[in-house]
């Protein structure tokens, strides 16, 4: 078994990269970084259930990109430039001044919408990568116990995400066998919600019953070691971040 990184390493690196991406504000660099991160995730994945959250975050990012682009093209302030095509303008009542639906779609308008979409999607993908490579359980073990409530919420939220993906697959399979061919959101959401809630409550109860958060100090059975690799990775991420902020 490959020795895992310190659970905080990837989160810190993700945050640093995110800062850099926002500061530089370049869609191409953002895409390049997401690509590099994707490669990293692919190499480091170990078959644990949360590995899937990266793919899921990419999908969410793509959805947001699509919505942002469509909305940006349809609604908004006209940006002058070379017109690509024109959509008929929808006439709005007089009490809605300043908003225009439709009109000429310029290259500038399209590219600015795309740009914003890519930036949002890239940020989501960066955090998806950190989640997918860090075991939520190991993450909890390094959180200091004085942030008890936050710690518990964190563990529940992060362990819920990957478990949900497994549950969705199971529920879909069962429903397909009932002859329900079409995916209905409500039909999956209800059993899923019920199960996730029950699960989170059980985990929280178990942590409560086992004395989590009772003592202000906690001892370490096997400390999470911060190794040279962790420092190296953070140093690399910091360098990239600085380069992007300063340039």
């Amino acid at each position: 078994m490959r020795k895992p990184l310190h659970p905080l390493t990837l989160w810190i690196a993700s945050i640093l990269l995110a800062i850099g991406v926002v500061a530089l504000d370049s869609a191409f660099i953002a895409l390049a970084i997401v690509g590099a991160v994707a490669l990293f995730v692919f190499v480091r994945r170990d078959g644990s259930p949360w590995n899937m959250s990266f793919a899921l975050s990419l999908r969410i990012g793509a959805t947001i990109l699509a919505i942002r682009t469509v909305v940006g093209v349809l609604i908004g302030v006209p940006i002058p430039g070379r017109a690509l095509f024109t959509i008929p303008i929808l006439h709005l009542p007089s009490w809605m001044p300043g908003i225009r639906i439709g009109g000429a779609v310029t290259i500038e308008r399209l590219s600015s919408s795309l740009h914003e979409g890519v930036m949002i999607a890239a940020l989501i993908a960066l955090f998806g990568a950190a989640t997918s490579l860090t075991s939520p359980h190991r993450l909890l073990r390094v959180t200091p116990s004085f942030i008890y409530e936050i710690g518990i919420t964190l563990v529940i939220a992060t362990s819920l995400f990957p478990q949900m993906a497994t549950s969705i697959r199971r529920i879909r399979a069962a429903q397909k066998l009932r002859g329900m061919e079409k995916v209905k959101l409500g039909a999956i959401a209800l059993p899923l919600l019920e199960e996730s809630l029950a699960r989170s409550l059980q985990l929280a109860a178990s942590m409560d019953a086992r004395g989590y958060g009772i003592s202000r100090k906690r001892s370490r059975y096997r400390p999470q070691q911060w190794l040279f690799r962790d420092s190296a990775l953070i140093a690399g991420a910091t360098a990239i971040c600085l380069a992007m902020v300063v340039q």
Binding site: A174, M207, Y212
Partner: protein, 534 residues
Amino acid sequence: MIRFSNVSLVYPHSTKTILEDLSFEIEEGEMVLVMGETGSGKSSLLKLINGLVPHHTGGILAGDISVDGISTRTVKPGALAHLVGIVGQNPLNGFVTDIVEEELAFSMEALNVAPDVMRKRVEEVLDILGLTAIRNRSIATLSGGEQQRVAIGTALVMHPKVLVLDEPTSALDPIAAEEVLSVLHRLVHDLSVTVIIAEHRLERVIQFVDRIIYIEGNGETSIGPAEEILQRAELVPPIIRLARALHLNEFKTSVRDVRRQTEEFRLRDYPVSPARSRSSIPAIVVSEISHSYGRKSALRKASTTIGHGEIVAIMGRNGAGKSTLLHSIVGLHAPDSGSITVNGGDPLTLKGGDRRRAIGYVPQEPSDLLFAQSVGDECAQADGDNQLNPGSTWALLNSLVPHISLHTHPNDLSEGQRLALVLSIVLAANPEVLVLDEPTRGLDYRAKNLFTLALKEYATQSNRPVLLATHDVELVAELADRVLFLAEGEIVADGPTLDVLLSSPAFAPQVAKIMSPKPWLTVSDVVTAIGAAE
């Protein structure tokens, strides 16, 4: 050790009193069983002991509970962690870390126990529970029995005086259940740990317990020695039903004692009842299918034929390939090699309404199929799907379990009622074949009885096959005509229930253990045989 004085409990947003004016005391080193129907408040009673109820769930608690002199009212559940160890119904949902050793150390870390003490205690618990070989394994890869032992270990490292377990064997095969229970038995006798356990499958635990807390349907609660409570209880294991049927003057809970009492019945000779003939027309034909998940092979060249009107049980240890075989038969995934036909058709190609009519499938979590806001909506949906007269599914449900309100939300049903609802939805399509995966988890004896009758009626009336995977030996004895026994993905035994169950002591039902070598599996077998002889 534990003292309940005049305890009553009401949950928020509910008018129903869960427990009323309950008083009892449990001594050190006692093993106490909590029994009652599903939804009678067993789990609540267990959680009261370490204060999870009401500290974690909310609710109004009257009266007082003290554990080793500490009132649960005044402290948080975590402050009792060194005193009370609690193991939930589904241990996997309570694990906080990934590795066995780290999981064992978790509560000691939280309570700031010194590292050298921790090391010592972890080693100790690994030894007691026989977990040394898997100490570095990831918890998710363990078998059900191993996970359950790890869960008990996480409680034991704190050296608790009280151990509370909620249905610790419900997900386990008979052999793994035996392992867990013998560990508990040893803890009680060697270390004088007080153990409180809730369980539906009484036949598994009854021989180990000293006293029983019996929560009746009407909210009344009684506590007393096992024999005394079982004498008048309604939900009793086969061993007590046998004693009642044979009019024995004393009720014993161990197989050995009842064997001694019933010696005279085994000495006589009985006419051999003719073996039931097997149906010759095959409905499901499985030929040489193999399936693997990644590198792990789950099924190896399994072949069998299931005839019309047959009820076939698939048994085997956790992870033997039972679910994989069922999933292949219902067409959830294509086998790597081999072929399956259900009434001549390929289950993989079925869609929509055709699928509903060809194969009825009840999944391991019945609630996966439920999504409407009320029982009535759920039934109406099934009527619409299958072009039935409105009310047909509802009538079917009523014949299985009467007295369910149409407006109840599916989540508020008890386990037994929910299974009945799912079963009636599946049966509404009038499927040619019925397949069930672990249907009786969490069902009490009464719900199980109703369920058994419903399946038998389906199989005999319309002469259709029923296939179910289960760990429940007593259910198989009552219900199945034939048993397929799987081990490591291979079918190692395939024959009439009587032959398969009698050939392995671990999988023998209680009555068979008592009456061996007579070929009887259930109380009614015994009664019929004795009746025929007289």
